[in-house]
Symmetry: C2
Subunit: 210 residues, 2 copies
């Protein structure tokens, strides 16, 4: 009996691609059990191996969660960049697009989003996790800088623009995931992107509105 797992093949005894399979299983475990109910044994069972097998690939639970957070951060960054690539245009539309991408990722991957931003279990000093996280941040910095026409990080007002935009998308994502926006339910159902857009428009750096 052989079965496909990525590029490799299971050959009875040896799995062939257990590391990747464990990451997939961990994501599923996180989705179904939440970070509070996440166990290594559960992940192993999901991947179809004995509960001692993961030790050959991950030192402990935290090590596995760090690797999963790295996968998440990479997907997160790519979601934002892809959303920008899909709607090229001026600095304003790029700003809006990355914000929509931020929220799109959070809604499509609430468990991974919570792992990255709401848990202390992954190791934040890990290079593979922190690098894509930093690159996501730099997408936002660039958007704000392009709108302002200066290096936003160098000025108090530029940093305030960055903070405002980041806080808005982050809070919006969290409130949506937590299901706290019942007062907006009808708007979201009618036009989700448009509803999010109305909020994003209010924090475009330098914009005037009325």
């Amino acid at each position: 009996m052989t079965e496909e797992t990525g590029q490799r093949v299971r050959s009875g005894y040896h799995h062939g691609g257990l590391r990747e399979a464990l990451l997939l299983a961990a994501e599923q475990e996180l989705i179904e059990k939440g970070i509070e109910g996440f166990t290594l044994r559960g992940v192993a069972k999901r991947a179809g191996v004995s509960h001692a097998a993961p030790a050959h690939h991950f030192r402990d639970t935290s090590d596995l969660l760090t690797a999963l957070a790295a996968v998440a951060a990479t997907r997160f960054r790519d979601t934002m960049k892809q959303r920008q690539a899909k709607s090229p245009g001026d600095a304003r539309s790029q700003f809006i697009a990355s914000g929509q991408g931020y929220i799109e990722f959070a809604l499509d991957n609430p468990a991974l989003f919570g792992l990255m931003f709401g848990s202390r279990r992954p190791d934040f000093s890990s290079e593979e996790f922190s690098r894509p996280s930093f690159e996501s941040f730099m997408v936002l910095v660039k958007d704000v800088a392009d709108l302002r026409g200066d290096n936003a990080l160098d000025h108090v007002e530029g940093r305030a623009d960055i903070l405002t935009a980041w806080s808005l998308v982050h809070g919006l994502a969290n409130l949506l995931i937590a299901g706290r926006l019942r007062f907006l339910e009808a708007d979201l159902k009618a036009d989700r992107d448009g509803t999010i857009l109305r909020a994003l428009e209010r924090v475009v750096p330098g914009d005037r509105r009325g």
Copy 2:
């Protein structure tokens, strides 16, 4: 041996105020262990009673966490209202004050804030938890309505103003708690309230800025 616990007194065998003592112990447990490491036995030990004692006051762990979330939501609402009372003025300054109160509570009570907004363990349908939560929401709705001069909930743009303000303070609070604002560290250290203020100013409904 007697010892003060609220209004009542421990008399050797009977505690005298165990329910309140358990809530205090649960808050401490949550602060030190996080929601992931929160256990009923830990709470009982902290309160100085046997691990079977809490059963006389709380059905199970979820019941205790719901009661704690109710305490948190009440304190949260009061923090916002007190901050507004301390700085009376026009609608704009009331809006800013409640936002500052929102973030003040989150920074002073990160564990309780996480319990209210980031966990699924408390029972959200509980009246004692949902009522003060709703009242907090209505503080924000009133602030926006006063600034707009209409019933904000009745219009798409009003709801977008509410969403924007709530998302901003909520995201800012979460990012501060998670320690993700290292790029702002110097600003926050120099003038925390002022730094937060600069973000809040950007989402005052109807405001123009440049």
